[in-house]
Assembly symmetry: C2
Homo-oligomer: 331 residues x 2
């Protein structure tokens, strides 16, 4: 097994986030699932966009956000995801490449347009997401660069992309390619409702030993294990994956590996502006430490610092110089 | 003359800002005019976009930014500007209408696409703008809603839009319509380089008494009057316009009317993140006070508060609740 030339390659939704603050009552009035991610069709997207205030458009997508953080920290990354041949597709492609991330997936001609996610941010900073998947759901398995996957230390997959059929097939093929090359597979569970739809798949993959690093938050942990108690959830899962990483919002995060549990408190944040991307950037910091060979406790701290940066402003792509931030924070 | 049902109607570029932080050296390396606005063609736009870091896309356009501020403060506004039938055009139209601003200009089919402005923000918060005018330069005079112009207390025009021929003709016609209806005309000089190209036009319009309220910054004042000294510039212009408003960056702003000079210091700002829109939002605050019948000194304070909000984050559209901000600041 040769030394990989990519540290993290990810497959994820190629989405532009359209985000705006909103009053709490709007969430209820439009029957949105507060704090969750709901897939929406064109009509619903148009209805919600019309109800949304003046917005800012910032490239997003869970795994793509994680790569943006990783690349900002100096990790070598590549992204696989599907955009359409349109302006938002250009925006997405520009932003990911401008971050120094390799992105070669060919654009897809014709309808539907590039994916967008309408994100309503309530005064408490919580984000409620409505995703129009568009072109993103048509990532074909044959768009995978299997040589690149075999050449990456970690293959990182987002659970969100398990919904549409084509990308799901692509991700299954990617897992096989990574494992065949002796690489690690990292998976983020993404959302409790995704687990409600695909939990059986996820549990089978875990049972089959296909997942080396599993990322979840405390709600997803409960959804996957059926255990409401946090530590019972950890206990149920910790022996099934070599490395389990669970975030707990303001209560910090834990990682369990080899039967040992590590914990980190949340970093203090002056004002939580928008929690979009908190988990994505936690994963970025953690994985950066992991591929850099750092101890688990440091990986957790790196994750916490990156998560704190992202929730202090709008958008799920870092604004501050993460390397500088970490240098100042960790020395 | 009936009571107008619109307080401010504006004609301006319909632009989406694409903004990213950049190192100082990039400005020089690409031969950009630091702090200025340069018109760019497709090739140059592509070259600069490729050199730009991960960006955020936020609706912009000088006069449109001013209206966004005015509407956020509760003024009744309408906008006239040209977008193309594309995704960025939808973004622009959504954002302006979502702010409560009437916007009826029909979209323009076919090429060129909606205007965008590539904004490089250096570590000092200064913005260097590269505008691809696209559809915006083809605003036809017959797209003007002259009834709406006659029904607006103030017609607000941006100097930036004086460059392309069609909107210039449209603005001249709009001035005639406003004056014919006994309304006020406000004009912002926008940029010293615009004055270098069109200063003779501006001076003629001022001499002809076509401008009731003139907005400028200290650099534009010098460019228009030929006077390097600030007070000499004020003296040269103050008798030629009924109301002259000049901003001076961190030195605050002055307004002169009826031979009397009013002054306001700049509002304190914790960190200047991005100066894009500072002048636009100053004009918003000032005009809001003006159409509300407030004394000039209060108009200046309103301008200073709005300008301070906009430079404390990325983008030229307000993030904070401006009404609330002003209530807390002014009581």
């Amino acid at each position: 097994m040769s030394k990989p030339s990519i540290q993290v390659i990810a497959i994820g939704n190629a989405i532009v986030d359209v985000m705006a603050p909103c009053a709490d009552e709007l969430i209820g009035r439009f029957g949105m699932t507060r704090g969750g991610m709901t897939l929406v069709d064109t009509d619903r997207a148009n209805e919600l966009y019309a109800a949304m205030g003046p917005a800012r458009d910032i490239s997003g997508g869970s795994a793509a956000n994680t790569l943006a953080g990783l690349a900002a920290l100096g990790s070598t990354c590549a992204f696989i995801g599907q955009v359409a041949d349109d302006q938002l597709g250009e925006v997405f492609a520009h932003d990911i490449r401008a971050g120094g991330i390799r992105f070669d997936t060919p654009v897809r001609a014709g309808d539907p347009p590039t994916a967008r996610c309408l994100i309503f941010v309530t005064p408490d900073g919580q984000r409620t997401m409505n995703t129009f998947l568009g072109a993103s759901q048509f990532l074909p398995a044959d768009a995978l660069d299997e040589a690149a996957i075999a050449d990456a230390e970690v293959l990182y997959l987002e659970g969100y992309l398990w919904d549409p059929e084509e990308p799901r097939a692509a991700m299954r093929r990617a897992i096989a390619a990574a494992r065949g090359a002796g690489r690690k597979v990292a998976f983020t569970l993404s959302d409790a409702f995704v687990i409600a739809r695909h939990g059986d798949d996820f549990r089978s993959m875990i049972a089959a030993g296909e997942i080396d690093i599993l990322f979840a938050n405390h709600i997803e942990l409960a959804a996957l294990t059926g255990e409401d108690d946090f530590h019972a959830g950890i206990a149920a899962l910790q022996d099934k994956v070599p490395l389990l990483v669970v975030t707990r919002s303001e209560r910090g995060a834990v990682a369990v590996t080899g039967g040992e549990l590590f914990e980190v408190p949340a970093e203090p944040v002056a004002t939580v502006v928008d929690t979009t991307g908190a988990g994505d950037l936690f994963a970025a910091g953690f994985l950066h430490g992991h591929v850099g060979g750092r101890p688990v406790s440091e990986c957790l701290t790196l994750g916490a610092i990156c998560a704190a940066e992202i929730i202090s402003h709008y958008g799920a792509r870092p604004e501050a110089d993460l390397m500088d931030l970490i240098k100042r924070r960790m020395g």
